[in-house]
Amino acid sequence: MCGIVGLFIKNPDLKNSLGRHLSEMLIGMSQRGPDSTGFAIYRGNGLDDSIKLTLFNGLSPAGWDGLAAELEIAVGVSVSLEIRSSHAMVTAQCTVDDILEWLTRHHPEIRVVGYGHCIEIYKEMGLPADVVGRFGLADMSGSHAIGHTRMATESAVTTEHSHPFIAASDICLVHNGSLSNHNRLRRRLQAHGMSFETDNDSEVAARYVAYRIAEGASLREALEAALKDLDGFYTFAVGTRDGFAVVRDGIACKPAVMAETDDWVAMASEYRSLAYLPGADKAKVWEPEPAVVYSWGREQTE
């Protein structure tokens, strides 16, 4: 069992309280996922040239000393680094690949948990209330976010095995369920040059989406293809630069409930995580249909 949540802000006045609401939503999913907690929050309009990478260094809590300076020399532009608990967020005006290549060569111990123009991903072992506190989620603002509370069934409980999994630039995935053909699919994706950080089945789903998008598919097309190629139980929430998407397996084995008001659109595994959103009692509440891709983004609301 796991819990997943997503929140998209329609009323700009609420952007400052995105973190506080997502925090409450994640805490609402504590019973579904007490092992680990993670979230992806989208901040900034993504229109300027700067890129963001969220890094995790499992070996040394103080391992960030000097990293920004080393990176600046390597990529030749100014690099800022902001530490949040066990993670560090790097911002620079270069390409993601410039930094990824350098990190792989010089700091293989550093894990890149998120990258893109807007996305920041923070994930750790621990109860939702502890983890969101460590990262200071309640004080974060942004346009939208997705999150996950994990009760591991398929693989180890570590930070790396926690969700969200980055799929491509600004695209990440959280999963409630279990995939039964993930080993074969992983081998297939590896044969196409994809690399994996863990043996987690949900990471395979994220890499699968990334693979389809790299092949030219839209997010919707990638998720529709996933419905055919992924065998097992799943409700996925996928965060993108513009919003988020939700899809459930063909017989809707795993729960999902959606709610919408004039101010926000939200999804959660259970209503408990929606109950405390402002105006939830007046929201339109419904269950997403099996094997249907739902998505919300700036285009629909502006």
């Binding site: 809707a252 729960p255 259970e270 408990r272 009692d281 419904w286 249909e289």
Partner: protein, 227 residues
């Protein structure tokens, strides 16, 4: 009337207070406020009491109910009235999956839509839904009645035994071994009684009946195509 505010009282304390009445024969009134989607509210009751819940509830609300009359003024999560033995549950909102799963007796009324697997493995409970139900409803249903005033999703009554299903709206692809059957005067009378008990205003003449073709009770290789 006893009022319990779930923002101040735990589910465990609430249910213990309700369970303390189990076996009693007197009626009394309970009102539960601020349920906020929590699970197992008013589960395991065994007394002829009236319980009104003001707001949305989570999973298994009224599960295993005996005798109690439970009204939910809001939506409900998975398995409302699962394994209900007797009594009455009314949901004034939509219901999520598996309404009345494995229910043995009593009546559940959903004044809205119910999601997938409504009445899964029902064993004698009567379920009346004023709206529509989702896919795989009445899966493995053994006894009792499922009445749907709206539409039904795909795979209705897959591997059904002796539950009788009445549907007014559109029916999607039927499940394995589920067929449409003749609506006899006896069935219309039966449906009229169910609608009256549920206090649902609908014309019994507009419903069709579905039930088991009884081909899959025992495995028979000649019927392998029916699975």
């Amino acid at each position: 009337m006893t009022v319990i505010d779930l923002s101040k009282t735990s589910i465990r304390d609430l249910n213990q207070r309700l369970h303390d009445l189990n076996g009693a024969d007197r009626t009394n009134e309970w009102r539960i406020t601020n349920p906020n989607g929590e699970h197992a509210i008013a589960a395991g009751l065994n007394a002829p009491i009236n319980v009104q819940i003001d707001g949305p509830v989570g999973y298994y609300c009224g599960g295993m109910n005996k005798e109690a009359m439970i009204t939910i003024n809001g939506h409900c999560g998975w398995g409302v009235g699962e394994n209900i033995m007797s009594g009455f549950i009314r949901v004034k909102g939509n219901a999520s999956e598996s309404v009345g799963a494995s229910g043995v007796g009593g009546l559940i009324v959903i004044e809205g839509d119910a999601s997938s697997r409504c009445g899964i493995s029902m064993k004698g409970v009567d379920i009346v839904v004023t709206g529509s139900v989702g896919h795989m409803s009445a899966f493995l249903a053994q006894k009792g009645h499922l009445v749907v005033c709206g539409d039904v999703g795909p795979d209705l009554g897959a591997s059904i035994y002796e539950t009788v299903i009445y549907v007014q709206g559109e029916v999607g692809r039927l499940g394995a071994d589920c067929i449409e059957k003749e609506m006899t005067p006896e069935h219309r009378e039966n449906l009229t009684r169910l609608l009256r008990q549920a206090e649902v205003d609908a014309d019994p003449a507009r419903f069709r009946r579905y039930g088991s073709a009884r081909k899959l009770y025992h495995f028979n290789v000649d019927h392998a195509d029916a699975y």
